[in-house]
């Protein structure tokens, strides 16, 4: 079990005990004792205490280290000076590869330390490729450590509707997927879009300034249980019920298992679902933006 660029002890406190490290299973009757945990990170976080092996990597060298691991897995020659650049030694990497190949079932959990630093999605791709290539020797998977509640659900739902998980452009009437072109930060920074509806997010507090400026400049609509930073710079804010606390529904766990929400409270505000449905209905009452058969017949 490898955690790469994540700090589950502080960010996902029950990940160890409920899901990954401690539970006893059919093939792991002794729980923790049957598992080896490796932590790869740039500093010794609270999660290092739980790890059997802690590998301190130099910041921004994840892609290099993952590529070196892939080479070692395939038995290819690796340049030792390139490995030294990553802050790890050949012995450490060789030992890690031996352990990964010996494992009955391995998993790489990668966090934002991998996916949000230099290299970004190429780093995640390298981790997934490493896991894929290890399947020549044993069973191995890679899984991202998801932060926000139902971000996995967003991937799943957008995927089963459009065929792609995020960054989907529907302006031609069919879905097109291109992260970097249709991903939010890029769209906002370039100023491509002329209206935004934000549901369950507060980009006004987290996004780069040019993106926030564009949100303030154009027509922005926010659905949120609270009046947020983004609400203050938007044209329309609608208060909605808090997901899982006063709004019922379904949320996906990070391993893509759907969970039913059991809200303990009843909100005076409508749910996101209801508000979005009513906005869709209001839009549907207007003429379609694309040429419908009826409109074409009328002009003919």
């Amino acid at each position: 079990m490898i955690y790469w660029g994540g700090n589950p002890a502080e960010c996902h406190p029950r990940h160890f005990t409920k899901y990954s490290l401690m539970p006893k299973g059919k093939f792991t009757p002794n729980g923790r004792k049957d598992r080896t945990m490796v932590l790869v990170d740039i500093r010794e976080t609270a999660s290092a205490k739980a790890a059997d092996i802690f590998l301190q990597i130099r910041p921004g060298k994840d892609f290099e280290a993952l590529t070196a691991l892939r080479s070692i897995v395939k038995g290819k020659r690796v340049d030792e000076s390139a490995v030294a650049e990553t802050g790890l030694t050949m012995e450490q990497l060789n030992d890690l590869v031996t352990r990964m190949k010996k494992a009955k079932f391995g998993v790489i959990f990668f966090g934002m330390g991998l996916s949000m630093t230099r290299g970004k999605h190429l780093n995640s791709a390298a981790a997934m490729t490493l896991a894929a290539e290890l399947n020549a020797f044993t069973k191995f998977v890679a899984m991202p450590m998801r932060g926000h509640g139902n971000v996995t659900g967003a991937d799943v739902v957008v995927r089963y509707h459009t065929g792609y998980p995020f960054g989907v452009n529907l302006s031609r009437g069919y879905p097109r997927f291109n992260p970097g072109e249709f991903s939010t930060v890029d769209v906002l920074v370039r100023g491509d879009n002329d209206a935004t509806i934000i549901i369950g997010a507060d980009p006004g507090a987290t996004m780069p300034q040019p993106a926030i400026d564009h949100l303030a400049r154009t027509n922005t609509i926010v659905l949120d249980p609270k009046v947020t930073h983004t609400s203050r710079l938007s044209k329309v804010h609608i208060t909605t019920a808090a997901t899982g606390i006063s709004a019922p529904g379904t949320a996906y766990r990070m391993d893509e298992i759907p969970m039913t929400l059991r809200p303990p409270l009843k909100s005076p505000y409508p749910t996101d679902e209801e508000v979005l449905r009513r906005i869709s209905e209001a839009v549907a009452r207007k003429a379609a933006w694309y040429p419908t058969p009826e409109a074409l017949m009328a002009t003919a």
Binding site: K226, T243, M259, D272, S280
Partner: protein
């Protein structure tokens, strides 16, 4: 005050989505949690159902829900390229509606994943 106990409640703070939480609530707020971690506990205890905020704001002024929905629909309908963004702190049912809206308005749909 009698407390309502919700068993097997699901926490949506982080991606773990633990579904074995016991919540004690008094109708307006959650007063106690069992099995939740430190993050989940503060997530549940820091929400209540008191009307802290107006139903809606249009151009910074308080508005009714109906007016705000109409204004939102107009903005999205008039836009050449609307963007539907966020989706992580909401339900799958709402996400489905969001996809419908993006498709109807010919926009882009994107989530926190792309950050």
């Amino acid at each position: 005050m009698e407390l309502t106990v919700t068993k097997h409640a699901t926490c949506t703070f982080c991606g773990c989505v633990c579904d074995d939480i016991e919540l004690h609530s008094d109708g307006t707020r959650v007063v106690d949690t069992k099995a939740a971690c430190i993050l989940g506990k503060s997530w549940f205890l820091n929400h209540d159902v008191i009307r802290h905020y107006p139903d809606a704001l249009v151009n910074g002024k308080e508005a009714t829900l109906d007016d705000a929905i109409e204004a939102a629909a107009n903005h999205l309908y008039k836009a050449d390229l609307p963007l539907v963004y966020g989706l992580s702190n909401t339900t799958c049912e709402a996400q489905r509606q969001a996809v419908t809206l993006a498709e109807m308005t010919g926009g882009i749909i994107d989530s926190h994943t792309s950050l």
